[in-house]
């Protein structure tokens, strides 16, 4: 998956308009980043990357880039 495809996947997951996110965006600044978004993020890692990401790990994420770094 390319970098842009990863951003688009996160936009789809967070119900954010396409091509509006970049790696520097802070998660706290996104109103869509809530408890439901955390669950859909865990589901995405599970189904797309076969990775089990715990909520403690997600709490450490500060920016979109932190999520993308794990998307491999």
């Amino acid at each position: 998956m390319t970098y842009k495809e990863k951003l688009n996947l996160l936009e789809e997951l967070l119900l954010i308009e396409k091509d509006t996110l970049d790696g520097t965006v802070e998660l706290n600044s996104i109103s869509e980043w809530d408890s439901m978004a955390v669950i859909t993020t865990i589901a995405m890692f599970d189904s797309v990357y076969n990775k089990n990401i715990k909520s403690e790990e997600i709490k450490q994420f500060k920016t979109i880039q932190d999520i993308i770094d794990k998307m491999e």
């Binding site: 955390v38 669950i39 599970d46 089990n52 990401i53 909520s55």
Partner: protein, 351 residues
């Protein structure tokens, strides 16, 4: 893990009673905002819920279900050997609600009656307990009552819990029957006991003189519960099916605890199960705690008249963390139609 086969036991009937009072989650637009509520509905699947009025307890709903079921099966009260009541919203701190129910239902003084405190996994644990008694003891008939009024003790301003739960009470009749078996596995992951919790109100915090009101309310860690479901529950269920040679064609219906539509869909996909075999009730009844599995069965099969058998895989998972599954066959006609009621106990039960 705890697994095995319990022989010579069958479910003869299942009934479910839910409150008349219908709550539409769109009514929360003014509390949490339309966009936020719509997002919640889309993810959890909960559009409407049945919510008990203040006077109505889980025991009242179970009472209505049990009465109807005993009438349908022509079970005389004196023929019931044991009553098991599973709830997290008992009538009183003391005594066990099962004892009150033994009296209210007019069961014999020879009857065993006790409570079990479990939530999401209540039904599979209850079936195992009832089946164990019938299979290994001189017990012929067991009435298993599972119900909760989970909306009791919910913070109406907490969007995570205010719109998710529905209330209900169920009754399941099990009887000794030659040649009918129940396969099961049961597990516990107590390290996650804080994931769904009401911290105050019982012995642990009794010495605290000042307790924050929120400590009496249910708190839920959705992310970690989701993680538990897609890892521990999914793997254990897949192992259970493999170890017992239960192929996908050996199951007519997979009935999962109605935790949240997103969780059910994800679990279904991971297990490679056709979604058509997974009945859903959470959209109209909400997350109905321990009674969600029998409620979903009644919702799906309540109008069935056929005496054909149906092969069921039932899986409960959640608070505790506690989980397990049951594989069994029963008649399609075992479930009776959903009962809607505003009944509550005012000190005098009509016999």
């Amino acid at each position: 893990m705890a697994n095995g086969i319990l022989k010579n036991v069958e479910i003869k009937g299942i009934a479910c009673a839910v409150p008349d009072h219908l709550v539409n989650n769109e009514d929360f637009f003014g509390v949490f905002g339309e966009e936020s509520v719509q997002k919640f509905i889309n993810m959890t699947g909960v559009k409407t819920r049945r919510v008990a009025i203040d006077e109505q307890c889980a025991s009242d709903l179970c009472y209505v279900a049990a009465k109807k079921l005993m009438e349908r099966l022509n079970w005389e009260a004196s023929t019931i050997d044991a009553l098991i009541f599973i709830t997290q919203t008992p009538d009183y701190a003391v005594p066990a609600t099962a004892c009150v129910m033994q009296h209210r239902l007019g069961l014999s003084d020879e009857c065993i009656a006790f409570d079990i405190n479990l939530g999401c996994s209540a039904y599979v644990y209850g079936l195992w307990q009832a089946a164990t008694m019938i299979s290994t003891q001189n017990i012929n008939r067991v009435l298993l009552l599972v119900g909760d009024t989970s909306n009791f003790g919910i913070n109406p301003n907490d969007s995570a819990t205010a719109m998710i739960f529905g209330d209900g009470g169920t009754a399941t009749a099990l009887e000794k029957t030659e040649g009918k078996d129940i396969k099961y596995f049961l597990k516990t992951k107590g390290s996650g006991y804080k994931y769904i919790m009401v911290p105050a109100g019982h012995a642990r915090s009794r010495s605290q003189t000042i307790v924050d009101k929120s400590e009496y309310e249910l708190s839920m860690n959705g992310a970690d519960i989701f993680n538990f479901t897609i890892t521990d529950v999914q793997k254990s269920l897949a192992d259970f099916m493999a170890e017992n040679s239960i192929g996908k064609n050996d199951v007519d219906m997979y009935v999962f605890h109605q935790a949240n539509l997103f969780i059910i869909k994800h679990l279904t996909k991971k297990l490679g199960i056709p979604i058509e075999k997974v009945p859903i009730s959470i959209d109209r009844y909400g997350n109905t705690s321990g009674e969600s599995i029998p409620l979903t069965l009644v919702d799906a099969l309540g109008s069935e008249q056929s005496d054909d058998t149906i092969k069921l895989l039932l899986c409960g998972f959640g608070v505790g963390l506690s989980y397990g599954a049951i594989y069994l066959e029963m008649k399609k006609s075992a479930c009776i139609p959903m009962i809607y009621t505003n009944y509550y106990f005012d000190g005098v039960d009509k016999k």
